[in-house]
Amino acid sequence: MIAHVVWRLWRRAAVNLWRARLPSLVSVFTIGLALFIGASFVLGLFTARTLLTSWGAQDNITLYLDPQTTESQALALSQQIQARGDLEVQYVDPAAALRRLRSDLGELASALDGLTRNPLPPSLEVKPRVPLAVPAVRVLAAELGQLGGVRDVEYGREWLDKLEALGRGLRAFGAGALLAVIGAALLVVANTIRLAVYARRDEIEIMKLVGATDRYVRAPFLMEGALQGLLGAAIAVGAVFAAQQWLLPRATQAFVYATGIGPPHLLPLHAAALLAGGALVGLVGSWIAVARFLKI
């Protein structure tokens, strides 16, 4: 389409929005709210994932060695593992392990007095330098279990399985909630545009009688929908930034304390994606509304 026609259609879409200020505002705020909730969900999910990752990685992997392993063999194995560069390794000899057990048992420690020899094997405590996601911890544990002299590997498997299931549940719930929220926004836009189409049915009739194509009749309504979506998304972006500016600094300290890293932030790229998403929601909503009304 020629540039001046496109410009004229945009102008008309803006004027029409202005003429129907109230329903348009309702639509804009609904999209804004839906996208704000959606964006908060996504950021919440990122946060939950970060937390799960960091908690998952805090469980050390313990390699129990053959009881016959000498200290020099254990230290050689420790150096071999440390040579990978991504892991910290600490050797725990049987005597130290027994002392730790005594201290953990507290008053019950006297039960160990009857032992004629130390039953605990030497072990290596391995900790990733960078927090790993749950599946990565599992792969690492399997790899270390293959090393010579390692009899058993302990890495809190049950705990990690639960974390992983929780992560999956959160993702599924987040995706479902996001879909529901966006579906609601679509319906609101479709209804607003449907009202606009109904209010302007005379205009549409006249447009078609003077030879306007369906595309030409549809265009201003689609543009109105897109504008509403864009404005709604701008409100959502503003609200998320505002929340980050005023609410998050207080929460951040607690978050850093809990996880050792900062919470995720809405980046300019995310904001652009949100704006594009808003325009798309508006566009699709008005497309649904207009499609039925063009049979004149």
């Binding site: 389409m1 020629i2 001046h4 026609v5 004229r8 003429r19 005379d202 205009e203 009739e205 006249i206 447009m207 078609k208 009688l209 003077v210 030879g211 306007a212 194509t213 369906d214 030409y216 004149i296």
Partner: protein, 219 residues
């Protein structure tokens, strides 16, 4: 210019609105389409501007078979037609000049061209001094003149008018009809549907009479 062959229009459950209509209108002709209310005049016009399709029969406009016209081809046919209604069909929230220019907007004309051509048409119908007014501030006769200016602004080859003076005071009838005769004198084929027999008696033109959906006379 306009040809109808055995055209029939039936709505389910009702007697035919149009029944076996065969009619030929020459290029540059002016015809009255007359008959009592419910005779099928408006339906015939609606078939001509493709607001409806005939149940059977064939309609040709400028040699083009409307039955073979796809839905996407209808707007391009309508750009060669000017249509005038009894209730004017003007947009209340647009000025007189904008209403007239509306037909040019959909063709993609530039703002300057729209203004120039719309002003020229308004001058022809004697309303250039009302260009900035809203339609509701105009009398019925003036509103119909605006509607005629809009119908003619594209310089259509055919002008269809459905009871163009039906809502007007008889004293305004002459000026409205004169605009249609002027367009006809410039070469536009004009079809006017009216139930007002006094018009036919005062202005002798070819007259096609309809009754209960059939052509009862053509003289």
């Amino acid at each position: 210019m306009i040809q109808l062959f055995h055209v029939k229009k039936v709505y389910p459950g009702d007697p035919p609105v149009l029944d076996d209509i065969t009619l030929r209108v020459q290029k540059g002709e002016f015809i009255w389409l007359t008959g009592p209310s419910g005779a099928g005049k408006s339906t015939l016009l609606r078939l001509l501007f493709c607001a409806e399709k005939p149940t059977s029969g064939r309609i040709l406009i400028g040699g083009k078979n409307l039955g073979r016209l796809s839905q996407s081809g209808v707007p391009y046919l309508r750009r060669n037609l000017g249509i005038v209604f009894q209730d004017f069909k003007l947009l209340d929230n647009r000025t007189v000049l904008e209403n007239v220019g509306y037909a040019l907007e959909v063709l993609g004309a530039s703002d300057a061209e729209i203004r120039e051509r719309a002003r020229k048409r308004l001058e022809q119908v004697g309303l250039s001094h009302k260009a900035g007014s809203l339609p509701r501030r105009l009398s019925g006769g003036e509103q119909q003149r605006v509607a005629i200016a809009r119908a003619l602004v594209n310089e259509p080859t055919i002008l269809l008018a459905d009871e163009p003076t039906g809502n007007l005071d008889p004293s305004l009838t002459d000026s409205i009809l004169q605009l249609l005769f002027d367009a006809n004198a410039r070469g536009t084929t004009v079809v006017v549907a009216t139930h007002d027999r006094t018009l036919l008696q005062r202005w002798h033109r070819r007259t096609v009479g309809l009754e209960r959906g059939k052509v009862v006379f053509d003289a």
